[in-house]
Symmetry: C2
Subunit: 442 residues, 2 copies
Amino acid sequence: MTETTTQEPLRVALLGCGVVGSSVATILTEQAADLAARVGRPLQLVGIAVRRAGRDRSGLPVDPALFTTDAAELVTRADIVIEVIGGIDPARDLILSAMEHGASVVTANKALLAEDGPALYEAAGKAGVDLYYEAAVAGAIPILRPIRESLAGDDVRKVIGIVNGTTNYVLDKMDSTGQGFAEAVEQAQALGYAEADPTADVEGFDAAAKAAILASLAFHSRVSGNDVYREGITEVSAADVQAAREMDCVVKLLAICERVAESAGGEGISVRVHPAMIPRTHPLGSVRDAYNAVFVESAAAGELMFYGKGAGGDPTASAILGDVVTAARHLVGGGRGPAETAYADLPVLDMGQALTRYHISIDVADRPGVLAQVAQAFAAHDVSIETVRQQIIPGADGESGKAQLIVVTHQAPDAALSATVESLGQLETVNEVTSVMRVEGA
Amino acid sequence: MTETTTQEPLRVALLGCGVVGSSVATILTEQAADLAARVGRPLQLVGIAVRRAGRDRSGLPVDPALFTTDAAELVTRADIVIEVIGGIDPARDLILSAMEHGASVVTANKALLAEDGPALYEAAGKAGVDLYYEAAVAGAIPILRPIRESLAGDDVRKVIGIVNGTTNYVLDKMDSTGQGFAEAVEQAQALGYAEADPTADVEGFDAAAKAAILASLAFHSRVSGNDVYREGITEVSAADVQAAREMDCVVKLLAICERVAESAGGEGISVRVHPAMIPRTHPLGSVRDAYNAVFVESAAAGELMFYGKGAGGDPTASAILGDVVTAARHLVGGGRGPAETAYADLPVLDMGQALTRYHISIDVADRPGVLAQVAQAFAAHDVSIETVRQQIIPGADGESGKAQLIVVTHQAPDAALSATVESLGQLETVNEVTSVMRVEGA
């Protein structure tokens, strides 16, 4: 170790000093000896770009002279640039400039990668530098490196992720307490699990960006955030969660990336974010609180699951520093890590072409022939029913009773399922379609 | 892809053609186009070393001319050598020769790595080639690459693995059916989960080799299989499993690698394999059948878990081919992957210095003062009791009754716990110590 620390250090620039940036700066400083030994050369923090220079950052164990508001200048004098500013601008230009100046880049910026990943990968390839972003998906959980490298000789069929801690916390509370959506969100906000404006989380934008990144790597294709079908959890009701309980299921917001071998619209991949029921016995069914997990099915490996913390300063910093050490070792030893490939170039299918299963609750009139009429609506759209359960609520004197039908379908194109639900609503024997939820993992 | 396949292929040699080797050969052949696109150059299988030339291998989709009994010659004409022969000899010499001839090596050989890893790492470093062995621990589960690279910037505190599928299957059956050890092993053998001679699995040798590999990587130190404290599951009784159930725990054979900051004997690491009770609610508690899982605690990332299939031809081949593609990309792009480091050079502590917790069931005489006497035996060894539960079995007419004490301790040096158990056996009020089991994950 004495030997390594006398070598010329690798210069590390940090862009951004919020919760994650502060953790990164702290670990870089406090663990400097270990990091130097692992890399083979010391890592020297040469600057921290911040928006406001005057803020009190005396709690951080770093030289105050390192703070600068000139990020554009900082990236020109580093071997490795860590970007934790987030957002598209100025992060994109800073990353591109860093790579042009020969620096390897480590970023946690899922929005940027989902919007403009290919341009960044291309720039990294051209500059011959590493571009790593393990922290962009599922925080501390090593998932991108396993997909890109460990599964590089396998054929990934499906990736199902719980990749947003806020929504998992909210849905978990709805499940364990019976609370409605609004109440659970308020509690999540009070505990710091949800932001004051929770839109990016509860509407699924955050998960959609992560799904795009996962799908790109898993299927060697280019998928952007805009390609991802997205439904958030704002419409998930206490009744939906209760309906799931009755099926021994739990409602989760899932990011699903799936290889579709043949479908109405041909071969391709389905990339989507939506709430779905999954069995409690499924490995993803027991992921509680704000934890994340990613379930992977591949041809040879079979079923894998990766579980851990999806957010927070230290967990995100762990993923970033793993990338930093790996990139640094490439700088010391020569070469660079395996980059993305997009050779398969698979098209992203419309949501209508995805093969899904539905759980549908319907209030119907209690009279003969209703079930036949409902079943006919499914058959008309070529949707096969797996189970149907009927609950009768007897009517008062003279009035006809009511009944509830709970239908779970086999797999069918989502368009057919959605058209079936529409037809059901128009049947005169149907009072109301009370709950519609996709079913996964069965 | 057309472009890549016209490039000069990388030559791949396969040593061994059993269950795993056959899967590897099949995937290399059938997925050739995908692998070429991911690597940037085709992978050409140039030979398969087997012990017996004459065996019928017509089921494999490979040119019969590839089979050879001259492994020593084969390794001199390959860019990447895959070793799935197992055992120490001749695997070691073949791997060393392959590296000397400039080939990167991918192996699944846990026994060899646990016995002689440092010599192999050194040879790889000297030759400037990759030495990968993801398949050696927990089969298809990406765990070594995550520890070596993704967590390279973090401070791993503890690794707890269910890394032997046979013993997990046996213990799971004992738990779910109430069967004894012998009966469960017979069933496992009938189903192909246990070998005719199950010693390596049930005595913990297989898990100990994996623990040595995990500990070496997690703690940047050198740990060999002989350094690992080892207890198998042959002494686990139906009563032990029942006692665990009563604690809402399950018995698992665990490979535990733990950083010990301060202990009786100073700083170091504890590396051990033994059965232990863990809570059913622990992420490892729900790992059923022959599945494997590895739970990692680190300073920044917090708790992580990796889950999947730990054995079998295709799952193991998945891990091997991930390593092959990664090594091949280094050959195409230059450089090599981050190698092991052993800079921390932490000593492996004696088992007596490990901090563990015990669950102890004791048959005692039912008379006043017994609990005091038992509690005194714990106190005399500085072992603190967490809970004690007393069950009274009334005596027949005139006879004194019996009582059962169930004690769960706080953490203490294993030597103190084990000395306490010995003292208990000598107390005249103690009829028998009926069950002793360590407790983890609480």
